[in-house]
Assembly symmetry: C2
Homo-oligomer: 384 residues x 2
């Protein structure tokens, strides 16, 4: 690992994960301004970047109130780093209450999530044994995406009342993990999802309040819906994550441009298979992740879009195949094969990823680019 900063990008080992700080800051700014305009707080999801230094830039963007984590390991890392207002966004299992209690006892204001009475009973039992009071959000299912209780009807009220009546638990509000926008074909569709998510979450909160129960928090959101919402009235916070880096999947949805993608994988040409028009590079799926999120979108981007060393995308050149430490660069179906003379051995390229959360997860650190120099390595955390 080089430790002499700034260094030229060409001195970095390959593969490396590059983070263009100015591009990221512009993404942060765009989201913060939208939230300002819609008068809503941001509780950014840190599962995309898992980095204290990235979060420091997110905080500078403004309009934030706490963070969202996807693992208790993230909660631990960010709490140790000075953040104490944390929502753990995955339904809590009974075997994690002890770790939650440990964080709470050290001063962390940690809120958890559930969607069923069986869990409520078990979590309450553990909370009482451990002598803690657990703040809880009810997860709502607003689009059939995954988990959650229906946002209207008897079950919602039963769950809310069960939390209220369970000693050791405190009902804080409702939250959604809407994923419907990820299947959308147009911006209008995404706007429709965003509106539906907001409307159902707000009406669920009203239904709970109408029963005389407390429901302070109405927490929704994902990057596409956050970027496309026109109305967040009644929503207290929104939790996008991938907007900091963006990726090819978000470009495919239409909520970002290629030039908005802040991370890429630096790689070096190893050789060629001239007859096939292939260029072989030293970044495979271990460097890109196995995520092929664009496969079912209109434009399949393979394992990623190939850019030159300056980050300029090369027309229709993608990583079409990948093994563990080899990538095969080729032209999208039908176009002319690549020539070795255009990509000599040793040439460095950059690959834009399908999914920023998955690709970042393959690395220990970001190589932070400011201008054409790498100015720092920013560590990221991992595990559970």
């Amino acid at each position: 690992m080089k430790e002499n900063f700034p260094c030229d990008i060409r001195q970095l080992p390959t593969p490396s994960l590059l983070l263009e700080r100015e591009v990221m800051r512009a993404n942060i700014q765009r989201m913060a301004e939208r939230m300002g305009a819609l008068n809503c707080n941001l509780r950014p999801h840190v599962k995309t970047h898992k980095s204290l230094q990235v979060l420091a830039d997110v905080e500078k963007g403004g309009n934030t109130a706490g963070i969202t984590v996807s693992t208790l390991q993230e909660a631990e890392y960010f709490f140790e780093g000075g953040y104490s207002n944390i929502l753990y966004g995955v339904g809590l299992t009974p075997n994690k209450v002890e770790a939650v209690a440990n964080l709470i006892s050290r001063g962390c204001s940690l809120t958890v999530v559930t969607d069923n009475i069986a869990a409520i009973n078990l979590l309450g039992e553990r909370a009482r044994v451990l002598g803690i009071e657990l703040p809880v959000l009810i997860e709502l299912d607003v689009d059939g995406h995954r988990s959650g209780v229906p946002p209207m009807g008897e079950e919602l009220i039963d769950v809310a009342r069960a939390i209220q009546e369970t000693s050791g638990l405190t009902l804080q509000g409702v939250m959604t993990h809407a994923g419907g926008s990820y299947d959308c074909d147009s911006i209008d569709d995404i706007r429709h999802c965003a509106q539906q998510e907001r409307d159902l979450a707000v009406s669920a909160a009203q239904a709970i309040r109408a029963e005389g129960l407390s429901c302070q928090v109405v927490s929704i959101g994902s990057t596409p819906t956050a970027l496309m919402s026109n109305n967040l009235d009644g929503v207290t916070e929104i939790r996008p994550g991938v907007y900091t880096f963006l990726d090819l999947f978000q470009v495919g949805l239409g909520v970002a441009q290629l030039s908005d993608i802040a991370i890429s994988v630096l790689t070096t040409v190893i050789g060629h298979q001239e007859e096939k028009g292939w260029v072989i590079v030293d970044a495979g799926w271990m460097a890109m992740s196995r995520d092929r999120g664009t496969e079912k979108q209109r434009l399949d981007q393979g394992y990623g879009v190939v850019c030159d060393l300056e980050g300029e995308p090369l027309m229709d050149v993608i990583m079409g195949k990948a093994n563990q430490e080899h990538g095969i660069i080729m032209v999208r179906n039908g176009a002319a094969p690549l020539k070795p003379c255009d990509f000599p051995v040793g040439t460095m390229l950059r690959i834009l990823p399908n999914h920023a959360c998955a690709t970042s997860g393959q690395y220990e650190h970001y190589c932070v680019l400011e201008g054409s120099s790498c100015t720092n390595f920013w560590r990221r955390t991992r595990g559970w």
Copy 2:
């Protein structure tokens, strides 16, 4: 992290990566015995496990002579751990020669790979500047899988002669990364691939020797071809990796049974979507990896096959969908939906992975199971 061993498997946090040591040892034994019978050395690929403790068990199995690595980071880690006979199996790029020279200068016997004259010229130049002599294998393309020179004809001899004549490089032999067996439909097909790989590698070596050039090493192999080969005459070493753990992809190929898979992901039930017949668990794609290698096999296993806590597979129950930290457990298409009462909140399950290399790569350590107890955490390395 628990540090009091042995501990009951139910005390482990979820998700965790389990390694059944006895199952692994049986896999190691099977391969070592086959190599003994075929009178061939094993140069095991450590990219699957990336762990010194796993390698110690592999070594105990016998018939090994050195190791294969997929990154220079692995070379560094295993060299520091006492292994000095190392083949770096990915075509070397000029920007990595300095790291290679560093290892060689410290006493590591590191061999590298290339398949083209442009690389040979650049590597020779760097080797001379750094004052090292670089042992080189020529990569052969025996099945159109990825990289390599054709195993017969002018180009092979040109490449061999170029290495021989380049000061700073020493020609050691030939190697293949045959991947053809991964597309096979039957054991007969795999046997055919294995025979073709062996025949072409041996004849390439003979052609090089016929020119008066040196070619001591004939290095081939992958797990399916190593397990199915009947003849390795003329081959000096074979380099399987995934055989230590095995996985659903290898089961799909027919070279292993479900009960041979040594690793699985421990997970806990969060909740249910009863109408859909879904069980939601706390292991998503971050815990399983995004690898969906069985998708194109006869039996698509989703993100993995679900087992009970004892490791017994549940008939037709798979992880059908996954988000970052959520898995959706369901019955394979068409069968009856799962009932919450069969998988109460808090139930622990184990998931067998599509691809051992990819799933292991998501973890810091293995939770080593001996009997029904976890007896140790074995660290693994990562990065580049």
